[in-house]
């Protein structure tokens, strides 16, 4: 990821359509220790080829939804980040 400050390595999980587009269900990525969620999402989208579904994605950090993409996320080494396409359980 493009970043100037300190970075940590986190696990990124991909599901459903995002998994298919990324051609991967899991990846390890260096991320800044603090970053605005929408900036992070943009970087992941471009790196993993998710442009076509960008506007439908949300993020979960350590198994909790990031409700607002304008929020900042604080990362620690080994955190889990998930790319969440629209849900369709039930």
């Amino acid at each position: 990821m493009s970043t100037d400050g300190p970075v940590v390595n986190v696990h990124v999980l991909f599901f459903a359509k995002a998994r298919e587009l990324a051609n991967s269900s899991r990846s390890n990525v260096d991320v800044p220790t603090e970053i605005v969620a929408s900036d992070l999402l943009d970087q992941l989208v471009s790196r993993f080829g998710l442009t076509t579904i960008r506007d439908n994605l949300i993020l979960a950090h350590n198994e909790s939804y990031i409700d607002n993409l304008s929020d900042s996320i604080l990362f620690k080494e080994g955190d889990e980040l998930a790319i969440i396409p629209p849900l369709s359980g039930g």
């Binding site: 599901f15 629209p86 849900l87 359980g89 039930g90």
Partner: protein, 141 residues
């Protein structure tokens, strides 16, 4: 008691009813979501479900807590979701609750299925007959 599970095999409905049984309860409500055979004129052969397992279980447990704070009389709650391939007519999800009186059981099950669809990280892909591309579905708000 709360019974929350992701399962890879057919869900045994009779067992769900047993989990709800309680001498102090007068009412059980059971919702079963099943795979339909059609979508916009295309014939559906099966559904393929995948989940963000740990987070899905966490969200399913949160739904249980929410139900208990809204309807404190609830006795047993069951939320089972099946993963992998689910053939037409088989259950993908079962949500059930028992309570002394009927309104709590009925209302909480309705509420829980809406919650599940909006916040539990599970996805389904419909697989169609013929050469239609399979499609990731999207729950409406």
């Amino acid at each position: 008691m709360d019974h929350v599970k992701l399962v890879n095999n057919p869900i045994d409905i009779a067992h769900i009813h047993q989990l709800l049984a309680d001498e102090g309860c007068g009412a059980s409500s059971v919702f079963v979501g099943t795979t339909r055979d059609n979508f916009q004129g295309k014939k559906v052969v099966s559904l393929a479900y995948e989940a963000y397992d740990n987070m899905a279980l966490k969200e399913m447990k949160k739904i249980c807590s929410d139900l208990r704070s809204k309807w404190p009389e609830l006795k047993h709650i069951v939320i089972y979701h099946r993963l992998g391939t689910v053939p037409v007519c088989e259950a993908s999800v079962v949500i059930a609750a028992s309570s002394p009186h009927r309104s709590e059981a009925l209302e909480s099950v309705s509420f829980a299925i809406d919650q599940l669809k909006t916040r539990v990280p599970i996805w389904k892909k419909e697989i169609y007959e013929g050469d239609h591309d399979s499609e990731w579905k999207e729950n409406k708000e």
